[in-house]
């Protein structure tokens, strides 16, 4: 729910159906609203007007059926990285599909497109985590991830990385390991069970 709240601060274009003089808000002035004249406002603002049936929303270009189709296709083609989509795309799409599907030419196609995109991206992301999360990784660069994916992957990924490191760290209090550490400081070859692993290095999300 919080992600949706944050997504509502993003801007969207709407076509007012009523005329309202310029209004002063905490976050700036909006208006004047003139019927039929497109104006850019935060999503929460547009949705409030929409609920009162005082405006039509202009679907953002990335959410148009054709554009979505292209994005899904790109997502499919670029096997090795996520494509760039708006950070709150899933939240915005769900809000608009819920409250403003009558302003879309083909809500069903849009809905399907967004679903395709989401499942394509999440399976791709899972695959990358499988190949990129190793015992020696301390940081992963993640390109073009978006809000929903982040909250889905956060508990899993962080937990896995921590468990791996805890397993490694508990090696440090292991008597054998401790011994090898003192040996190491004396310049002797280490024989710890983890010594065979490559030096820790950064794995990038991009393969």
């Amino acid at each position: 729910m919080e992600a949706e709240f944050l997504a509502e601060d993003e801007m969207i274009t709407m076509l007012p159906l009523v005329s309202i003089p310029k209004m002063t808000f905490l976050q700036g002035d909006y208006g004047p609203l003139i019927p039929g004249e497109p104006i850019e406002v935060p999503i929460w603002f547009a949705l409030a007007l929409k609920r009162a049936r005082k405006c039509k929303l202009v679907v953002p270009s990335w959410m148009e059926a054709k554009q979505l189709e292209k994005t899904v296709e790109n997502e499919r083609i670029s096997k090795n990285r996520l494509t760039a989509v708006p950070y709150y795309y899933a939240e915005i799409a769900s809000l608009l599909l819920h409250y403003a599907s009558d302003d879309m030419r083909s809500a069903a196609t849009v809905r399907r497109g967004v679903e395709d995109l989401t499942s394509l991206r999440s399976s791709k992301f899972r695959r990358y985590m499988q190949t990129n999360v190793r015992e020696d990784c301390n940081g992963i660069k993640i390109e073009n991830i978006c809000s929903g994916e982040l909250s889905a992957v956060r508990p899993v990924l962080c937990e896995i990385l921590e468990t791996i490191h805890r397993a490694n760290d508990s090696g440090a209090v292991d008597p054998i390991k401790m011994q090898t550490q003192t040996q190491k400081s004396q310049g002797t070859q280490s024989t710890s069970i983890f010594s065979s692993s490559k030096p820790r290095s950064l794995r990038r999300f991009r393969a």
């Binding site: 509502e8 003089p21 009162a52 005082k54 950070y87 992963i140 990924l157 962080c158």
Partner: protein, 232 residues
């Protein structure tokens, strides 16, 4: 492997407030943005961050003034002719959103304080990060918890087992916040090459503006506080 190669092409898909925090917007709107960031950072950081004293104070004032204005207008409207009720409605929504943000911020802090009340009070750094109200709250919380533990089971234990100190001699009995936890972060300004683990043999990481990383909190905690990176 060039870390810098992914340039700015994704800049236009980032949320509004990821862009530069400058100009056009009013002072209040900047403060609201700051609060939003503070809320998210607080939510995702393993330790309690410094309290945004002036920010919270100013926004509380703004909320009070707005609430009063809205009440006044509502009263005037109920007696006079109805005009621009939609505008009033929208302003109510906006103020509601700011209140929600403020509550979410304070609540995420309370959660951490309750989680480690005693530890927070005993640690000089964390104690200094609390607001006066939070400090009082933490003290009362510790008192209540101790009284509750005493009456519910500690009194029935042998006397030497009754203490609830976090130290036993030299041994620290309560772990501090898990600073080594992994967090997601978004780099706001070019930070450059940064060590991302305690082990100096580990490869450092190039933190370029606009990048998103999953890494340990501890090595970047100063960057969070200085505002160079944001937690996600």
């Amino acid at each position: 492997m060039g870390m810098e190669e992914n340039g700015t092409q994704e800049a236009d898909v980032l949320p509004e407030d990821w862009a530069q925090e400058d100009d056009i917007s009013t002072e209040i709107s900047q403060e609201i943005r700051k609060l939003k960031r503070a809320m998210l950072n607080e939510k995702f950081s393993p330790e309690i961050l410094p309290f945004e004293t002036s920010l919270v104070h100013e926004l509380k004032e703004v909320i009070e003034v707005q609430d009063a204005l809205i009440d006044e207008e509502e009263l005037a409207r109920s007696s006079g002719p109805s005009r621009n009720s939609l505008g009033l409605h929208l302003r109510k929504i906006e103020i509601g959103r700011v209140k929600y943000l403020l509550r979410a911020y304070l609540r995420s802090r309370l959660l951490k304080i309750e989680h480690r009340a005693k530890r927070t009070l005993h640690d000089e750094l964390y104690r200094s990060r609390l607001s006066t109200d939070e400090f009082k709250y933490a003290e009362n919380f510790v008192k209540l918890m101790e009284a509750h533990f005493q009456s519910s089971f500690l009194d029935q234990l042998p006397e030497k087992l009754r203490s609830v100190d976090d130290r036993d001699g030299d041994v620290d009995m309560s772990p501090g916040p898990a600073l080594n936890r992994f967090v997601f972060c978004h780099v706001k300004k070019n930070v450059g090459t940064t060590a991302i683990s305690d082990d100096p043999t580990d490869q450092a990481l190039y933190l370029g503006a606009g990048d998103v990383y999953c890494l340990r909190y501890k090595p970047v905690r100063d960057l969070v506080e200085s505002g160079s990176i944001d937690l996600l």
